[in-house]
Symmetry: C2
Subunit: 400 residues, 2 copies
Amino acid sequence: MVSKSMYALGAQPSGIRELFEFGRQRAKEVGAENVFDFSLGNPSIPAPGMVAEAISKTLTEVSPVAVHGYTSAAGSDACRDAIAENLNSRYSTGYTRNNVFITCGAAPALVATFRALADDDGGSEFIVIAPFFPEYRVFIGNAGGKPVIVPPDTDRFQIDFNALETAINERTAAVLINSPNNPSGVVYTEGTIKMLAKLLEEKSREFGHPIFLVSDEPYRELVYGDVQVPFVPNYYDNTIVCYSFSKSLSLPGERIGYVLVPDSVEDARTVFLAVAGSARSMGHVCAPSLMQHVITACINLVPDVAVYQRNANLLYDALTSYGYNCAKPDGAFYLFFEAPCGISAPEFSDFAKERYNVLVVPGDSFGCPNWLRLSYCVETERIKNALPRLKQIIDHLKEK
Amino acid sequence: MVSKSMYALGAQPSGIRELFEFGRQRAKEVGAENVFDFSLGNPSIPAPGMVAEAISKTLTEVSPVAVHGYTSAAGSDACRDAIAENLNSRYSTGYTRNNVFITCGAAPALVATFRALADDDGGSEFIVIAPFFPEYRVFIGNAGGKPVIVPPDTDRFQIDFNALETAINERTAAVLINSPNNPSGVVYTEGTIKMLAKLLEEKSREFGHPIFLVSDEPYRELVYGDVQVPFVPNYYDNTIVCYSFSKSLSLPGERIGYVLVPDSVEDARTVFLAVAGSARSMGHVCAPSLMQHVITACINLVPDVAVYQRNANLLYDALTSYGYNCAKPDGAFYLFFEAPCGISAPEFSDFAKERYNVLVVPGDSFGCPNWLRLSYCVETERIKNALPRLKQIIDHLKEK
């Protein structure tokens, strides 16, 4: 009398978690300084000082009943206004609080969105473009939908439009994108977004219903140099944005993010209410209330990505010079590289782990076999110390 | 291409919310002092001062990366240990962190539990004893289960065991109880819990599988005088507890609670992992991390229920003297009373609302028609000012 599917999900931790646990264990044996754990995407930049200030100020100025009390399910008016105004000032949009549903992070935002867009009778398809965050499969499954995977474009990590066009059919509810991308670290160009919008407009017409574009954007602000992240709703009307403050404000454990349903979305109010209903069905009551105060105060902070950029450059230059084939990182905090010398990504990961205590995640679960993800949201010193090992690994493999 | 069922859930706010919104609107017209809103169960006792102290101390002593970082999905070791030790010291149990899965409040704890206990093929039945929190229907539905309602025992608001026995069959996955009860304010006696345990043991044997008892206990600590709340897992092995710190620490907006799966539960580890898997499928990553620090520090605080008790006594004595038939409140912060003079509960609610600006919730959605819920988690002054109106209402109805 226990759900087999839920047991399977709970008993089978992700490969990423398993690597992380291996690293913790190995650190006890050989010392933490000798283990190079690049498995997890846990921000290493501390939350800006203003976060602690906002917390203190809120606790001083607002009554505890108001600070810690329920807000509306969609969030407090103040926080929803702040989010809408922040987007309006940056992207020349005209959002109001009525477009914003605040959630306990991007993960439940995605689940609520998929469930809202899935037909009650099942059979809705959600197209996922590889490489992708592995939990998408779980979230789409929870909504009774079917994930349809578009293979990766490993030359540029943009979109293989021929494969995407083939994947779209009358059952397609939405296409899911994630840019800056986990795991590739690549940002979709404006050209890519324009082509995507054009294709989805054509296909929506062809099948007589909107094909929604769900844009999962937790890394939106984590980009380097002059890289621009196109704001997707400005290119395609039927875009729904799922966002998290986990990375931009380094608050991953606090669980706060949102779903944005612009008025340009067909039947926008219906979609918004379906998102609200879906959240309700999962026991969402409101996002953490103190954090809603924090976001209201800190929404305009810009993350200092200097350390991530330094790490990215260091790694990319070094690994490329050693002979690794790397995707050039535009943002997020991931370097994606190909398993060298004809071995598979899991073989590479095992070899690096066992022989060199270097932990990197095989791309198989991201829908991109033969590639590996290195999370560089760590201190630069760790990267520097790991570089000789990454060189030894490829040299060793070349000799084989 | 939008889910009809999710839209329906989002578009149809609960009757409680509608009353609350009516009250806000009416307050603008006639002044807040002239509207007596007893609709919502939003604690009016502020969080204890120690909560703000624990927040400050955490922000001072722990690095921001650790304070706001991800914890394990089940929660930090420290917080799970604190919860287990608190229960052990109060109830002579032997729990460890491995029995505790921390959630974003009781609502997602219940949803995760129902989904974990529901057969993947559908058809699992969950027995709900009236009167009950209306969202149970939504949560059970989300798990693909079927709610089976046992009618209320309106004499004592304990359990109608004949009706319960009839309701149990081979498809019964679990029985759900909520004591201290929302909306009746009544606590199940030790005698009730013992009879329930005996019946479920017999029925588990009869049907050859455990019938779980899900005990929803957000009001566990909110009881008056010498009322004792039996700790249910000590009476029935296959008990799973869903708890929230919303009421006991007045932190409803912060979304923190837990699922407790004792080792006495059959296949306890399997059930625990199914709860974890269910949470994962809904995008649970961890409970808010700063609040986990707060709970760790504040777990042993005892709520000061004096104001609730004063309100309860005041209301019960006055309403009874006016001629209302009231359930004697043992705890929580609800007074449940019968619609007087032969009118229906919705008629009473409308009449009280329209003519006297007194907002009380009809019991229909709680599975208890003809009764009404009055939430007295408000300032005592509000109660005092409302009493003459409550007298006028019943006098007016008697004259009709």
